[in-house]
Structures are given as structure tokens and as C-alpha cells.
């Protein structure tokens, strides 16, 4: 028995469903494209340069406590450069400062930074300064991996490199701590900063 070509007429799609769908598509495309701009490459590069300077000064200190104190003093400078670079990149791309990808990155990185600050105090009080460099690298890397999950692939890859370096530092002699910090916050930031800046718009 032959069947009619159209046994059932498809229900018409309401016009507002189309409009909602279009708006959703625009928002999702903007979010995905925004990940190209959320992490500042040039900012990362300058943070790396600052870290190398801090490392050079820290390497001349007689004790591990004073070496770490130099890094702690340099951290706000690096943070300020990072914030300035995020703001500048958002302005250049005419993005709201805390656009969705930018907000996700900051919110993902912040808990690791906070945990790192608290653990630094706790480990210092417990006399375990030797593990602090490894812990910093590991936690910063974990934050970048999480934040990078919403960004371009190079960002989580950078985070994994930080974590690998941190894990190695944790089980290495205490005297190598400054070199690990320079390799991570200096070397990795500069290399990946350049890659992000050249490939993802600054």
C-alpha cells in the first residue's frame, strides 16, 4: 500500500524560537571567539621578564627565607602587570572588562592563588620553606589549566608545563628552588606569552 509522501506535517517553529536560537548562537560564538583575547600574551611576557629580574636578585640572597621574600615582594609587580595587560587587551578588543571568558579565567585562577598564599604562610610557619617553590608552580599551573579549559589550547598546555615543573621541584634539592621559579615564572611565561601574543591577538 502506498504511503502519502508527507504523512505528518511538521509543526511550525515559532518565530520567537528562531530569534532565541539566533541570539544564543551569537552569544556562544562571541564567547568562543572571546577566548582568543581573554589571556594577554604580551602581559605574560613582561611578567616573565619581571620574574627573571626577581630571580636574579633572589639568587644572591644568603638564605632560602630571604630568597623567597624577594619572590613574594616581586609577586605584586607581576600581578599588577597581569591585571593591566588583561584590562588593556579587553579595551583594545572593545570587550567588557569581565566578559564571559575573561571572568571564567580569573575565577578559575583566583582559588589557586589564594590557596598558594595560605599554604605559603602555613609551610613557612612549619619550617618547610624548601617545598614552597614547587607548591607555587604546581598551584599556579593548576589554576592556569582550569582557567585555560575555557580558552585556546595553548593556555592549558602552559598550565600543565607549570605543574610538571612544580612536581619536579617538589622532589628536587632545596637549593634548586630559585632556578625552578625562574624557569617557570620567567621562562615558561615568556615562551607562552610570545606564542599567545603572536597567535591570539596580543
Amino acid at each position: 500500500m502506498s504511503q502519502p509522501l508527507r504523512a505528518h506535517r511538521a509543526e511550525p517553529i515559532p518565530i520567537n524560537a528562531h530569534a532565541y536560537d539566533n541570539l544564543r548562537y551569537i552569544r556562544e560564538t562571541m564567547e568562543r571567539a572571546g577566548s582568543f583575547t581573554a589571556v594577554p600574551g604580551w602581559g605574560g611576557l613582561w611578567m616573565g621578564v619581571t620574574a627573571l629580574v626577581a630571580g636574579a636578585v633572589a639568587g644572591r640572597q644568603p638564605t632560602i627565607e630571604r630568597m623567597l621574600a624577594v619572590w613574594v615582594a616581586g609577586a605584586p609587580v607581576g600581578l599588577a602587570i597581569g591585571v593591566w595587560a588583561i584590562v588593556r587587551k579587553a579595551q583594545r578588543a572593545r570587550l567588557p572588562l569581565l566578559s564571559c571568558p575573561g571572568r571564567k579565567f580569573v575565577l578559575s585562577l583566583a582559588p589557586s592563588i589564594l590557596a598558594g598564599a595560605l599554604l605559603t604562610l602555613a609551610l613557612y610557619q612549619a619550617g618547610l620553606e624548601a617545598v614552597i617553590p614547587g607548591m607555587w608552580l604546581l598551584l599556579y599551573g593548576a589554576g592556569v589549566v582550569t582557567g585555560g579549559a575555557f580558552s585556546v589550547r595553548v593556555v592549558p598546555v602552559m598550565g600543565v608545563c607549570f605543574m610538571a615543573l612544580g612536581a619536579t621541584a617538589l622532589f628536587s634539592p632545596a637549593g634548586w628552588g630559585n632556578w625552578f621559579l625562574m624557569a617557570g615564572f620567567g621562562g615558561l611565561q615568556i615562551v607562552f606569552g610570545l606564542m599567545i601574543a603572536r597567535r591570539f591577538g596580543g
Partner: protein, 120 residues
């Protein structure tokens, strides 16, 4: 008064737009097409995007992206610059002021449609 003008006036006054007033025929067909809407939306949040990054972002082919990007370029919605990075030729797109205005108009149109159907 033209329907578009009625919609703009009502939106400016904060009053509701009636369904019959939504100017269906004045929809910007150029960016209503999915791929072109994607190109304009992506460029709206970035300073510039290379051809390859745009292709990956929109999950499309070279030919498809070229055709749609050229239409937007001809309309003056986007700008295209070609240069060499080492020995590799690169193509980069940017959103022009006309393209940004077109996207804003399109967004307003979609919002007006939703508003109009909501009050039915």
C-alpha cells in the same frame, strides 16, 4: 510611519513593540545567514582574527568561509588584510563600523521579535 521607525520610537520610549510592528521584511538578510552571522559575531569581540582561526572557530571549510567573508567585505561590514608571516601568506579580518552597526540592528530586531511574540 515606516514599521522600522515605529519600532525604534517605541524602543526609545521604553514601550512595548507590537508583533505587527516588527518589520519582517527589513531584516538584514546579509547577516541573517548563519555563517555570516558567526563571522560578524566573532569579529565583534576581537580586534582581528586570522582566516585559519576563524575557520576553526566556525567549524567550516576554506571555500565556505571565503565566499561568506567576501560578501561581508563587499557590503563594507568587514575589512580584510593580507600579509606575509615569514614565507606564509596570512589573511586577517576585522569588523568595520558598518558591520558593528548592522550587528547591533540585528540584535535589536531579534529582541523586538521576542518582545512582540511575548505579548501575544
Amino acid at each position: 510611519m515606516a514599521k522600522a521607525a515605529v519600532v525604534e520610537e517605541r524602543q526609545a520610549r521604553g514601550t512595548r513593540v507590537r508583533a505587527a510592528e516588527v518589520p519582517a521584511l527589513e531584516l538584514d538578510r546579509l547577516i541573517h545567514e548563519r555563517m555570516r552571522l558567526g563571522i560578524v559575531s566573532a569579529l565583534a569581540v576581537t580586534e582581528a582574527i586570522s582566516f585559519n582561526d576563524l575557520k576553526k572557530l566556525l567549524k567550516t571549510t576554506d571555500g565556505n568561509l571565503s565566499v561568506h567573508a567576501r560578501k561581508l567585505e563587499e557590503a563594507g561590514y568587514i575589512g580584510c588584510s593580507k600579509y606575509f608571516e615569514g614565507r606564509l601568506p596570512k589573511t586577517e579580518y576585522r569588523l568595520k563600523a558598518g558591520g558593528r552597526r548592522a550587528l547591533e540592528r540585528y540584535l535589536a530586531h531579534m529582541e523586538a521579535l521576542i518582545e512582540a511574540t511575548r505579548e501575544r
